[in-house]
């Protein structure tokens, strides 16, 4: 039972990504077609089948106070950097919002893996007395959310959805619900991930989920392309500030877009593999469009989850085609950012919002030869260069291992 009219708007954006240290530099690099992917040169990688990574453009430890940084896992550091940018951008701090009415929802896929694995090395080498007293607060999966909550002084609740690569999008959906149920006046939402380390790399490689196009790093992430062979692991964070529209307008906030609707489903099919026709994904998209009070024909643009894995991309293409249709302009920005796992849904929501703002759909890089799959062939996937178009409503969808499907609908301010 909703206690408001459901009008929720986005008043702040933040990001730190492989393409840039903030939203503006990331968006510019995306539109310019630059790649964030490079080949790992560390010694440990030499026996690894997949040696590619999309590292952050700027080390987050350089962007925050040294003492604060040493008590935060890298996943918390990126969360704080992105969240503080979004918070500043929103102007909410100057608007006198009561801390008890500020909430945070921040997701991660893996959590503090670098801390867990680093402290395990210390345990093995030096014994239990040398393990850091900050180990637990740095590795816990609610760590990014908690660090963000402290950074902005949120006292209205701090929440941490964990749904693998859908976590960032799920955080946005939870934020929408908190506002609709009047449990907060301002919600800072987003996702964070920083797990570039041999163990996660080996684990994903063992699943045969990662690209092994080691000799061509910038060409490796190629969603929907016939020659795609897996994703490229990325790191970073993105954040959004959500508020009810009437309150945001009353305080004169700049409104980037409306968060018009959200949908979430589970495949109920397999722990890892997506449903081959994207059945659950399609239901999530349809639910989000319905929640927004729109119909499929209204959706001009879809920022696809499209990670560049052979099975995932075609399943999603079917879901988009069946629930939205062939008229919509599709893009897959992981072709340039790599896959930020639990941050992906938040970052791609930022891209979706900027596409609506600029009336410009970023291109899918490396889509030289679209897959023969009938759905991929039927979709209008923007490639080679960004495309200018009339955009009123757009979908960002995100899926995670475990069969999690989240779709979000944004509309122009």
């Amino acid at each position: 039972m909703s206690t408001s009219d459901g009008d929720v708007v986005v008043t702040g954006l933040g990001a730190t990504t492989p393409l840039g240290s903030d939203v503006a530099s990331t968006w510019d690099a995306l539109l310019a077609g630059r790649s964030g992917v490079s080949r790992i040169t560390d010694d440990w990688v030499k026996d690894f089948p997949a040696q590619l990574v999309a590292r952050l453009a700027t080390d987050p430890a350089q962007q925050i106070d040294r003492v604060r940084a040493r008590r935060l896992d890298r996943s918390q550091q990126v969360a704080v950097v992105a969240a503080e940018e979004a918070w500043r951008d929103s102007g909410a701090a100057d608007a006198g919002v009561a801390p008890e009415r500020v909430a945070v929802v921040f997701g991660t896929g893996i959590g503090g893996a670098l801390t867990l694995l680093g402290q395990d090395d210390i345990l093995e080498e030096k014994g239990p007395k040398r393990v850091s007293p900050f180990t637990i607060p740095m590795l816990m999966p609610n760590g990014p959310a908690a660090a963000v909550g402290l950074a902005v002084g949120a006292k209205g609740g701090v929440h941490a959805p964990v749904s693998a690569c859908a976590s960032g999008a799920e955080a946005i959906r939870w934020g929408l619900d908190l506002l609709r149920f009047d449990r907060a006046d301002v919600v800072l939402v987003g996702g964070a991930e920083a797990c570039v380390h041999p163990l996660p790399m080996a684990g994903f490689a063992a699943m045969r989920a990662m690209s092994t196009r080691n000799d061509e790093p910038e060409r490796a992430s190629r969603p929907f392309d016939k020659a795609r062979d897996g994703f490229v692991l990325g790191e970073g964070a993105a954040a959004l500030v959500l508020e009810r529209g009437d309150a945001a307008r009353a305080r004169g906030a700049r409104i980037h877009a409306r968060l018009a609707g959200a949908g979430g489903t589970a495949d109920g099919y397999d722990l890892v593999a997506p449903h081959p026709e994207g059945e659950g994904a399609g239901r999530a998209i349809a639910a989000a469009v319905r929640d927004a009070g729109l119909t499929a024909a209204d959706i001009n643009h879809v920022n696809a989850h499209a990670t560049s894995t052979p099975v995932g991309d075609t399943a999603e293409a079917s879901a988009i085609l069946n629930t939205v249709g062939a008229h919509t302009l599709v893009t897959a920005t992981k072709s340039q950012t790599g896959h930020l796992l639990g941050a992906a849904g938040a970052l791609e929501s930022v891209f979706t919002i900027l596409a609506l703002r600029d009336q410009l759909v970023p291109a899918t890089a490396n889509l030289d030869d679209p897959d023969d799959d009938a759905a991929v062939q039927a979709l209008d996937i923007v490639r080679r260069e960004p495309r200018r178009a009339r955009l009123d409503a757009a979908v960002n969808d995100s899926f995670g291992f475990g069969g999690h499907n989240i779709a979000l609908v944004f509309t122009t301010a």
Partner: protein, 79 residues
Amino acid sequence: MSEDIQTGLAEILEEVAGVAPADATPEKSFTEDLDVDSLSMVEIATAVEDKFGVAIPDDELANIKTVGDAMSYIQKNKA
């Protein structure tokens, strides 16, 4: 001797808790004056063991309230 201990302790406090070396004087309380929390005290104890070869058991750590307390403990237990 005690100057070496004070200097060494100040280095640890700067590294672990961001305390300016000039502030690390004997009368200062870790929690009241220097904003050093209990988890940071654990880190400080580990660093003290590395630097001075003096282990501080938990029950002793609980009695160390000021920089001066830490200096005395190190002085007394240093081999």
